[in-house]
Subunit: 333 residues, 2 copies
């Protein structure tokens, strides 16, 4: 295991210390509870947006805390859900009196823990709505989920919904937009190599030198099939076509195209995939109106990529374009 770490048990905390050291202008980091909170939280009259999950997917979620996106994020251990007390502590830190939205990726542990936190918050009279992302078309159920896994759409949803919340819209409207974004987006990923969880010390799975896994999960969960390595053109079709079919995308529609790196794949390769994706979409007369290319929801140092397509409308475009100021996404400010 070759990593830039100290002790395997200290990876999450050491990393949070780095975030604290470099982003104190934007963020407050509660090291004891492993929570990252907007420096100016809570904001009176603004719905608080909370997400979180296992660590190892950086920049998601911690680096998406800031104006126009998340109000707080809870960090679990690598690939393990944070605990309800973290979520409740974060809820207190960001509650501006008009409620809190929980954005939860669909994994069993996350669902259970966020539900418990929501119940605890409700007993205190804090209004909470929860929205679950489940955009991964690769598999219906998996090692960690009932139903589809929540993956790339989560990043886009956090940005768009954060933009609406910034305008001080009510909780019901913020939650409704979140549900719409999740419904309009689908994703699929693939891996060229495994990642290694630091405390495990060995790769989560093993792929041959000429193999890849299509439909991989962000924790290295198995996907649809293991097959021989193929050219980027073919890989992109294996990912994009099921998404296009599942979304029933038709000629004339507009999408945000998100080509995401799994952590160990360089940008030059992601742009090759982006080119193939553009070719496929152009061939179907589907228009890319916005795009995002880079490492945004990762699996430690896994090599590979995922594709997310999000059907856009005017409301989603407006809040995608709205100002955002976080360590991970920043424009307009």
């Amino acid at each position: 295991m070759k990593k830039l770490i100290n002790q395997p048990d200290d990876v999450v905390l050491d990393s949070l210390r780095g975030v604290q050291a470099l982003h104190s202008d934007l963020l407050k980091v509660d090291l004891e509870n492993q929570i990252i909170v907007r420096a100016d939280a809570p904001i009176q009259g603004k719905v608080g947006i909370l997400s979180g999950g296992g660590s190892g997917h950086e920049p998601m979620h911690g680096s998406f805390v800031g104006r126009g996106m998340l109000d707080a994020a809870c960090a679990g251990a690598i690939f393990a859900s944070p605990a309800p007390y973290q979520m409740l502590t974060a809820t207190h830190a960001i509650n501006g009196g008009t409620g809190v939205l929980y954005i939860i990726k669909n994994y069993t542990g996350d669902i259970l823990n966020f539900e418990m936190a929501a119940e605890l918050a409700a007993t205190e009279g804090i209004q909470v709505e929860s929205v679950t992302t489940n955009d991964d078309v690769a598999v219906q159920d998996s090692l960690y989920t009932a139903g589809r896994r929540g993956v790339g759409v989560t990043v886009l949803l956090e940005k768009i919904v954060g933009g609406l919340a910034d305008s001080k819209a009510p909780l019901s409207a913020v939650a409704a937009l979140a549900r719409k974004v999740n419904a309009q987006g689908r994703s699929m990923g693939m891996a060229l190599t495994s990642c290694t969880v630091p405390t495990a010390g060995k790769p989560t799975f093993v792929l041959g030198d000429d193999e890849m896994e299509i439909g991989i999960g962000i924790h290295g969960e198995p996907g649809r099939k293991r097959m021989k390595l193929a050219p980027a053109a073919q890989i992109t079709e294996l990912l994009a076509n099921p998404i296009i079919e599942d979304l029933h995308l038709k000629a004339g529609e507009q999408v945000l195209a998100f080509v995401n790196g799994m952590g160990g794949t360089p940008l030059i390769e992601l742009y090759i995939v982006a080119n193939e994706l553009n070719r496929i979409l152009t061939g179907k007369q589907i228009k890319i109106v916005r795009s995002l290319v880079g490492n945004y929801i990762t699996s430690l140092e896994m090599a590979g990529c995922s594709i997310t397509l999000l059907r856009m409308d005017d409301e989603m475009l407006r809040y995608w374009d709205a100002p955002v100021l976080t360590p991970g996404l920043r424009w307009g400010i």
Copy 2:
């Protein structure tokens, strides 16, 4: 070799096609000449800023083209200098009548080719100034250089100098600021793994499972020493201390701290290094006033990192903070 590519010979062109497909709002991509140009170039009365170099270091340089940074970038083959005709074509595309600044990383091929382009431009009456970055403290000469290599400072310089050029400052002032930034910055990198140049098909070098290379170059050139893998705290000292000594940084001074990923290292590890860097600098009463953490000057899928420290003054802070709108760096717009 496991990569998201089609044919090894097509990597650069396919990637440029992806940039063209997704960033046509910001950029014009001349596929024939492998040049990326600002969509609104040339801008009358503004000094044009041109850089370029071998591909494989993305997002540098092509993704740094846009308002407030580069006016154009020339892409060579992987790890090989672009040719003088590319630079001259780009010079024509961005010359707004007040001259062009060439930003050149100190590698023999780049220097020769940019010098030839500058001579050709001069015969056409275009005023050109050239500034060379040579910030890598690891080695004095190397496989590809006479003198120090140009590395991480190049990214920071392109941003800061682009900010000044945006204010329509004259060429002499823009070149003077570029020379100051280069003089005030130093870098050093390390590798946990090699990268593989696609057309070579095998790793550039081989490291044992328990080895790392300290002082690595961005093309995989040898550094200061090969040694046993160490904790992030010790690695960060091996990189930061020579930089601090070479810059003669003293208590009370202010720096921009840049923790750069080599392409295959996840963000969670870069923040661990950032934490150690902050500890070292705080211990010496050197203040981090700005920071940048992520993959900005890479070596394909190499795992590892580099650290750059840039001594900041008010002028450099002002232009670092100035608005920028490129695919790779974006704020204030």
